[in-house]
């Protein structure tokens, strides 16, 4: 089933500078899509258009079979959750529990159900001991974990991560990525759209969409992109560590396949002499 269908989408902040040009994209249910590209290529704009925070100039966005317009916007927002970049600016409640409850209050969920849901999702993201804590006592990674709980508590079909890890330290980033991985395993039908700068993060996806100056220049599997050194040079991308390692090892004469994980490569190197 197609979760998100974008047809001939155009958007510009003002007439002379188009931000997105004729975007066509289809995303299947349960897919993990990474959207990568340089600063100002329109990645964040694209996701804001999908949840209707910005109004498109032309084209069509269909989410879960509903075409996005003024009447369907609230319905679509129930299905799409987004985690933004800045952990502070999306923390609305006074405490962790209030913040998770905020999404539920908006959907007019009865209080008894809210209490159980807040506990359940706080536990899922590992914040159950911090329920009554205020945001100033939390680290960036913890705040982003709460933001993910906020997003998932409404049981969305699509989760958009808009550079959700870019303001975190490496530990916090790892925390969030493994949490997303865990959520994905728990609910394989959850579609994830991850907008990112970080090439390691993009590599986790099933598919990479490369945006350049408002146009989709490439959609392919991550390993296909990173083996193609021509494309990498053309769009000035860096190569994920695992791909670099595989390449180096192949050059050194190890028998390494593209699917081999870090652990397996390590083992091979240790076993050979």
């Amino acid at each position: 089933m197609k979760n998100v269908v974008i047809k001939n989408l155009n958007y510009s902040y003002n007439e002379n500078t188009p931000v997105l040009k004729n975007i066509n994209l289809e995303i299947n249910q349960g897919e993990y899509v990474s959207i990568v590209g340089q600063n100002g290529c329109g990645k964040s704009t694209l996701c804001k258009l999908i949840i209707g925070l910005l109004e498109k100039d032309s084209g069509e966005i269909i989410v879960n079979g509903l075409s996005l317009n003024k009447d369907s916007i609230q319905e679509i927002r129930k299905k799409v959750a987004i985690v933004f970049q800045n952990p502070d600016n999306q923390f609305i409640g006074a405490t962790v529990e209030d913040d998770i409850a905020f999404s539920l209050e908006n959907n007019n969920i009865p209080r008894e159900k809210m209490i159980t849901l807040v506990k359940e999702y706080a536990t899922k993201v590992g914040m159950e001991d911090f329920l009554t804590k205020e945001p100033s006592y939390l680290s960036g990674g913890q705040k982003q974990r709460v933001a993910i709980a906020d997003a998932l508590v409404r049981n969305p079909e699509i989760l958009i991560l808009d550079e959700a890890t870019s303001m975190l330290d490496p530990a916090g980033k790892q925390e969030i990525l493994s949490l997303v991985n865990k959520m994905k395993l728990e609910n394989p039908n959850l579609t994830i759209i991850s907008i990112t700068h970080d090439i390691e993060e993009a590599y986790l996806g099933d598919r990479i969409v490369l945006l350049n100056e408002g146009e989709i220049v490439l959609t392919c599997r991550p390993d296909e992109l990173f083996k193609n050194s021509e494309l990498i040079n053309q769009y000035n991308l860096s190569v994920p560590f695992i791909v670099q390692l595989q390449k180096k090892c192949q050059e050194l004469g190890y028998q390494i396949n593209d699917e081999d994980t870090l652990e397996k490569i390590g083992e091979m190197i240790c076993q050979s002499k």
């Binding site: 804001k48 925070l53 999306q90 529990e97 905020f102 908006n106 969920i109 945001p135 100033s136 997003a151």
Partner: protein, 295 residues
């Protein structure tokens, strides 16, 4: 953040903490009015004030508000004390009474009344501070906004969610105080590293330094508000739609006890005031200073 200790919420679990914030707000108003009710005779007023003062001390002990904080906040009142004294000394007294002259400054006669009046005002101010301190130290800011929302809920008749929007605005403002304080410190450090000195120089130089702080702070706050509104909208916030509530306020037996006691005190003082009851007539002034009573 550390210098904002006055009236900070202190997470204890006392009787006062457990009270309904709506009730606490109402009781605070009743107590404030009681303090400013003045019964006709000085002696009765003094006794009533002393009674209220002891009551507040008891409430402070009960709600575990730190007296240290109270003294700290009072230490800033010296200026006010001196200012009030000067005003009362040098403003001509309508009830001038030659027997009340305390001493002369040159040929200017200073009345005892100046001391009573300013002392009484200061004392009432101290009690006001105590009351607000008990309220803010035992009530989470968010609970206070819920209480305000509840009191404003009759505004629903205008078919516009005034109460809800106001409460939401207030709660977001409260939520962002620590965040913006952090931001202020960050900007101060950044500007200091670029050569702005916030502590030295004449008044104009300092104002210039302040501009270098306030403008970036505003820019960042406006940027934050944009992102915040995006996040709220994306999470389906719609103030006009029906929303359920996670926090509910409960009026319990504790509230009933507390409210009835405060109401009784307020009623008692009001009755004394209305019937001009000078239930006690000790001439404190004569007693202490050997002068005849003024009232």
């Amino acid at each position: 953040m550390n210098n904002l200790t006055f009236g900070r919420y202190a997470p204890f679990n006392t009787f006062v903490h457990k009270l309904d914030p709506r009730n606490k707000l109402l009781m605070m108003i009743l107590l404030l009015v009681s303090i400013f009710l003045k019964v006709d005779s000085w002696s009765s007023t003094l006794i009533l004030t002393a009674f209220l003062f002891l009551l507040l001390i008891a409430a402070m002990i009960m709600s575990r508000v730190s007296f240290l904080q109270l003294f700290k906040s009072l230490s800033m009142m010296w200026f006010l004390v001196i200012f009030l004294l000067l005003i009362y000394i040098f403003i001509p007294n309508p009830n001038y009474n030659p027997e009340h002259i305390a001493f002369y400054i040159g040929s200017y006669a200073v009345n005892y009344d100046a001391f009573y009046q300013s002392g009484y005002i200061i004392f009432r101010l101290i009690m006001m501070i105590m009351i607000t301190m008990i309220l803010t130290a035992t009530t989470k800011p968010m609970d206070l906004t819920y209480a305000i929302e509840w009191y404003l809920s009759p505004l629903k008749i205008f078919k516009y969610p005034v109460a809800h929007i106001l409460a939401m605005t207030l709660s977001i403002a409260l939520r962002f105080i620590p965040t913006l304080l952090d931001e202020t410190q960050r900007i101060m450090k950044a500007q200091s590293s670029r050569g702005v000195d916030f502590n030295k120089g004449g008044i104009f130089k300092r104002i210039g330094g302040l501009v270098a702080l306030i403008i970036p702070l505003f820019v960042s706050a406006i940027g934050r508000s944009e992102e915040l509104s995006n996040a709220m909208e994306a999470r389906g916030y719609n103030p006009y739609a029906k929303r359920s509530r996670y926090r509910i306020l409960k009026f319990s037996w504790r509230d009933l006890i507390a409210f009835i006691s405060i109401l009784a005190i307020f009623g008692g003082i009001l009755t004394l005031k209305i019937y001009d009851a000078n239930f006690i007539k000790i001439d404190f002034i004569y007693w202490i200073f050997g002068a005849k009573p003024l009232f």
